[in-house]
Subunit: 240 residues, 2 copies
């Protein structure tokens, strides 16, 4: 039976980390809210008073009888099923730990344009966003990407992937944040990535995977846009 | 062999979720940075160029040969070992999903006093903090606590705990956020908790657990303070 992914239909957002794993694995799935009437299905799911395990927010995965929310929890569930996680428990937890740290980066990237209130428009928090983005560019991006670089450098398999000898969903997620940062902060991201060549190389390797390349070229890949987590506001990037 | 917890010695912070689980289980552990010379040990661990699985940030747990960071990943690891998680995999993932959502609340609570830059003082971002705290009090606290209340109301075991018939680490974590919100936002938290009686009751049940009661009365429990995640700035709470 096909997996069902419930996520906002107009953005990559957090759902994209799940989409990339499903696409790379060639797993059958329905991106529910992008189907006719699917948005109503998503909203009904969020409000379902009968749900034993109510999801707090999308993305949500339905796998048979099970309903799972929280991006990292979804990937923890999917990893072994899609052959995108190590076979041993310690390896799986390490991949999950990397994913959780990537999730922290994603939340901070979001807050660069919404530092005050997610319910307000960006235009209502522009000066604050400029201050927050400066700290993100100068402190946080180098720290997060440098950490990923150190993991690549220390992988005893020297495979070019983050964990062990084989691709895992953490590699797909690392690709996605490189893409997102390059979109949102092209100048700052380029500067940092010049110092993290292993990570930059990993992103190119992921992009060239046949299933990922086909996905990126398909209409299933939603372009980055100003509704998503990674947004391009030139005033939040460095000056040339 | 005793577990080793590496966390900042002067705050509850994210380490407290791990401390509560270890204390409730009566598990032997060393709170390394609170021992003589322990802070140097913690800093050396963060900078260890030989670490195969470098931690991004504390808390970090050492369990024999394994080194695990990210609070929710630590608890995922400890849950079954401390009998604080369900026996079945689906139940464990559900407890983990709750913990991940609590982690999101914790990050947002932190950002109420540091909406702009964690490297700056609160005094350098007070007007922004006031705006962020308003959205947190009025929108986010009710949403997060209401979600936990709905989980309690829907637990088919009707046990008073979040998942199944037995206490899990998610219950301990829910107690901790109730404590933290009551400390940081006493007026707002009281208002919201009046509408989430099951959650308020859970917090009292946790507080009365013999091992937790003994811990809270001991010097091992660091008091809330102005260095931690939950801080009391009266200007960030509602007005009476």
């Amino acid at each position: 039976m096909a997996y069902e992914l419930f996520y906002w239909p107009n953005i990559q957002g957090r759902g994209e980390f799940v989409r990339l794993a499903l696409e790379q694995a060639g797993a059958p799935y329905v991106d529910v809210a992008r189907e006719d009437g699917g948005m109503e299905t998503l909203l009904a799911l969020l409000d379902d008073p009968g749900a034993a395990h109510p999801p707090f927010a999308p993305p949500i995965l339905r796998d048979g009888e099970r309903l799972i929310a929280q991006t990292a929890a979804i990937l923890l569930h999917l990893g072994p099923r899609l052959q995108l996680a190590p076979a041993d428990e310690a390896g799986r937890l390490w991949v999950h730990q990397i994913q959780l740290t990537i999730a922290d980066l994603v939340a901070e990237a979001h807050d660069t344009h919404h530092p005050i209130d997610v319910e307000l428009y960006y235009d209502d928090q522009k000066p604050e966003a400029a201050r927050r983005a400066a700290g993100f560019r100068n402190g946080r991006i180098p720290k997060f990407l440098g950490w990923l670089e150190s993991i690549l450098a220390r992988n005893p398999e020297d495979s070019g992937w983050l964990v062990g000898a084989e691709l895992t969903y953490a590699d797909l997620s690392a690709f996605q944040i490189v893409e997102g940062l390059n979109y949102a902060f092209p100048i700052a991201a380029k500067r940092v990535l010049a110092k993290t060549p292993l990570l930059a190389s990993l992103a190119e390797e992921v992009r060239a995977l046949p299933n990922i390349a086909a996905y990126l070229a398909s209409p299933r890949r939603i372009p980055f846009n100003q509704e998503g987590i990674f947004r391009r506001y030139p005033e939040l990037d460095e000056r040339r």
